[in-house]
């Protein structure tokens, strides 16, 4: 199981926890499993197409990736807001 690490507000929408162990062969599959277990997170990280939102970054073991990146069971995924996001 990959380890997923979330910060607020994503952790608040994921059962109040910032740490999740989830199955999946790709970043997209792991995050879809997060959505399945915690429906309030649907649409926050992945859009309807299954793509990671443009201003959200997903790091696997510290390396930036997107939804189609391969995930190993021992990997750690961190989901963080991008510095390119926000509202001016």
């Amino acid at each position: 199981m990959a380890k997923v690490r979330l910060r607020a507000p994503l952790s608040q929408r994921s059962g109040g926890s910032g740490a999740h162990d989830l199955p999946g062969a790709t970043v997209g599959e792991v995050l879809r499993e997060l959505e399945r277990r915690h429906p309030p997170i649907v649409g926050w990280i992945l859009d309807e197409r299954g793509a990671v939102r443009p201003h959200v970054n997903v790091f696997v073991n510290g390396e930036p990736t997107r939804e189609d990146a391969v995930v190993e069971p021992t990997d750690v995924l961190q989901v963080l807001p991008s510095i390119s996001g926000g509202c001016v």
């Binding site: 649409g43 990280i45 859009d47 309807e48 939102r53 996001g85 926000g86 509202c87």
Partner: protein, 357 residues
């Protein structure tokens, strides 16, 4: 009597409350969705339920509802495009109560219509109009490809007209199963003359139906104001008497089908108030003549921009309340149908929408 305003801004929703008759600034009763752009907020008068659409700069758009705008909000199921498809929701431009119990509509970008039959808790894509979108050569305006105007027909849920920037007016007579477009009289001056005939690249900025005469529609277009008296089949230009035909907001008095209010801007290349004066223009003869209103509004060095949804009203006739907000963060109100104005609030974030609750 207390008036409640829902003011969407680039930095959250502000719920303002005050007495319009007193002509003094309103108080901030609540701020919701801090940091996010709130594109639109409205109260459904049938149920008292509040709706707000907001977009996080990180986590995307969503629609929320609440029974108390100063309390907790609940996220609706949708609007969203089909999962696994090639389209993602970008923005929710407008929410409009329909003409049947529980029925509401949402207009979004990329341009599509969603409807709800359970008082806004869940939403479904109108597939027929979406197919028209996909089959057509729909072009975006500066604000994106947006369905921003939804005009129900009073008492008849089968009839609906919507406005799209920049893909014209679409009309259904069968509850959204089929859609038609096509009309005369609209002149897209931003296209060369030889490209105008038959084009549907029409940049509708705003459109409202006159409920007391529902075959009549008023439209703020990209460079003109128009009126249709035949459900949108033909349009008559109404620019004469206005300082500019360009603008975004539009309000009508629901009791008077000959009425419309607009807030012109200089033009597409300079989207500020003409002559550096904040003015609202009213017609009571269906656009033949316009009355300028400025009593209480800034009259010099006022370079303001008022966006599409940032003009709202309550009531009708000479006591109709009018409110608008500018991207400067200023909100103005009138307790007497535009005859006089006062500052409702200042120094908010850039205002994107204003509606009376």
């Amino acid at each position: 009597m207390t008036t409640e305003l829902l003011v969407g801004t680039k930095k959250g929703l502000f719920v303002l409350r005050g007495d319009a008759a007193a002509g003094t600034p309103f108080e901030i009763a609540a701020r919701a969705f801090p940091g996010d752009t709130v594109e639109f907020a409205i109260r459904d008068p049938r149920t008292g339920r509040y709706f707000a659409s907001h977009t996080s700069g990180f986590y995307g758009p969503r629609l929320m509802y609440a029974d108390d705008p100063t309390g907790e909000w609940t996220q609706a199921q949708g609007p969203a495009f089909p999962e696994g498809g090639d389209t993602a929701l970008e923005r929710i431009w407008v929410i409009t109560p329909g003409e049947a119990d529980g029925l509401l509509y949402a207009g979004v970008a990329p341009a599509a219509l969603f409807s709800s039959t359970d008082d806004g808790e869940s939403w479904s894509l109108n597939e027929a109009l979406w197919k028209e979108h996909q089959a057509g050569d729909w072009q975006p305006g500066a604000g994106g490809l947006a369905l921003h105007s939804i005009c129900p027909w009073p008492g008849d849920p089968q009839r609906l007209a919507v406005g799209v920037s920049a893909a014209g007016v679409w009309i259904t007579d069968d509850g959204g199963q089929t859609w038609r477009t096509g009309y005369d009289g609209i002149v897209p001056e931003y296209l060369p003359e030889e490209a105008r005939e038959g084009t549907n690249t029409l940049c509708i900025h705003n459109m409202h139906r006159a409920p007391a005469r529902p075959e009549r529609l008023f439209m703020q277009f990209h460079g003109n104001v128009y009126r249709s008296d035949d459900e949108g089949s033909s349009w008559k230009e109404l620019r004469a008497g206005l300082p500019s035909g360009f603008g975004f907001p539009l309000v009508i008095d629901p009791a008077d089908p000959d009425s419309a209010y607009v807030i012109p801007l200089v033009g597409a290349e300079d989207r500020v108030t003409p002559d550096a004066r904040m003015r609202v223009y009213e017609t009571r003869d269906a656009g033949s003549t316009w009355i300028e209103h400025g009593d209480g509004l800034p009259s010099d060095e006022a370079y303001l921009t008022v966006l599409r949804q940032a003009f709202g009203s309550a009531g009708e006739g000479s006591g109709m309340q009018l409110y608008f907000g500018a991207t400067s963060g200023d909100v103005f109100g009138s307790p007497d149908a535009g005859a006089s104005w006062f500052q409702v609030h200042e120094r908010l974030a850039p205002v994107t929408s204003v509606r009376v609750a």
